[in-house]
Amino acid sequence: MESADGAARTLLSIGRLSRGPPFGRAHGRFGLSPSGRLLLPAPRSQENADPQRTAFLLRKQWTLYSVSPLYKFSNARLRDYARLLGAFIAAEKQKGLAVEVGVELDIKVAVSSLPDLKGSDQDQAAILVQLSSRSPASPKNSEEKLVWSGWFCCVSGDELSENVPEDFTCLPLFLANGAESYTSIVGSWFQKTFDCSFCRLAISPLNLSWMAAMWTGCKVDKTASAMELVFSVPCLPQPLDISYAIHPEDAKALWDTVQKTPGEITQEEVDVFMDCLYSHFHRHFKIHLSATKLVKVSTPIASAHCDGIIKFLQSQYLTGVLMLLTELAISQIQ
């Protein structure tokens, strides 16, 4: 699915995933509405992006949050922020909100910028926050252990950044990996310091099916793992989960027959793709998957869970997936 980077950039401004307010009218009359068309994110060109620098983001489970714009955030003051956040965490521990039971850990904070993770030049560079610990009992020069990381990013978030007044920085997507207690401490510091608000970002089954269709279309090598969809069956006394695994080549072959225009996906194509998978399952098991709730999608590109948990598996598609997640975060903020 490669397209020339220049062509990808001009098309980016037209395509959009979301359909506007959830229960409001789509813009324009039916038939002329542009909603439902999205450009398949092309793999980011490798000239300025060094895959090694973002390799540590892969294969980790990230919990998603949407963040409202930050007030008076400055890229130049990252070291100061690290120091202040470190002091805040130490103060919280003093107050008795201990995060680790048993051994007292010294938490060191590092805040850095990830300039590679952006879609357009208007996007803010991603900000990475890392908490590492060193046990005071161990020798001075022993290795520090990373206990928590979180990063803010904005990929192709022009829709939000254009409409925001001066002094506000738009970094609508926040991803966290590590103990929930650290996430809430770091989150509350950011909320107090920059007057923003964090909100868990859940992914609806509709958006998950978009991801399944989009990521199936991406080119992957022969050794790719199977595509897996997990469904949760409602209204049963005991919860029941159905896992449906599809060979990646079969899934791609099916998607190739469905998708008409390369580089564009419509809601109809996603529906047809999912309906084919559902009717195939029904033919064998007599179960209507369309009456269940799609809760998890796993493809060789990435895996996403409806509770707002994502795992990136391929660095070349990292920016593409982030673009999609940024859009979901922005629609939750607005």
Partner: protein, 131 residues
């Protein structure tokens, strides 16, 4: 009268009273319910679509459980010229309010409200939804 799909079994035809209003329920959490409604619509006589049909979309309280695309529902309302109502069955207040709305619509469709016909009411609802 409740049915899970149409057509209704023909054995009961002679016992069944006149049908004044058909409310198709679509659960936004289940794509299957939309497909079911679309299949059942084919079995409805054309005269019902003059104000005696409405679409009731349930489960709208939780956006994150949405499996049905809203455009598909709007399209259904437009193609079949019938109003689309939204409700959340889990909340008692909304449940009661929706029941009252349906009851009012039923009274109009059955001809119990003088001066208002099903057709005029239907077009009134459609025009206000378009704004």
């Amino acid at each position: 009268h409740l049915a899970t799909s149409l057509p209704l079994p023909s054995e009961m035809d002679h016992l069944r009273p006149r049908i004044d209003l058909i409310a198709f329920m679509i659960d936004i959490k289940s794509k299957y319910s939309l497909k079911n409604v679309e299949a059942s619509l084919a079995h409805v006589d054309a005269s019902f679509f003059l104000g005696k049909v409405c679409f009731l979309v349930t489960g709208v309280g939780r956006v994150n459980y949405c499996s049905v695309e809203m455009n598909a529902i709007w399209k259904l309302g437009e193609v079949y010229c019938s109003p689309v109502l939204f409700c959340e069955l889990e909340l008692e207040g909304i449940r009661v309010a929706t029941a009252q709305r349906l009851l009012r619509m039923l009274q109009i469709c059955a001809g119990h409200i003088p001066g208002v016909s099903a057709l005029s009411f239907g077009s009134l609802m459609r025009n206000s939804a378009d704004e």
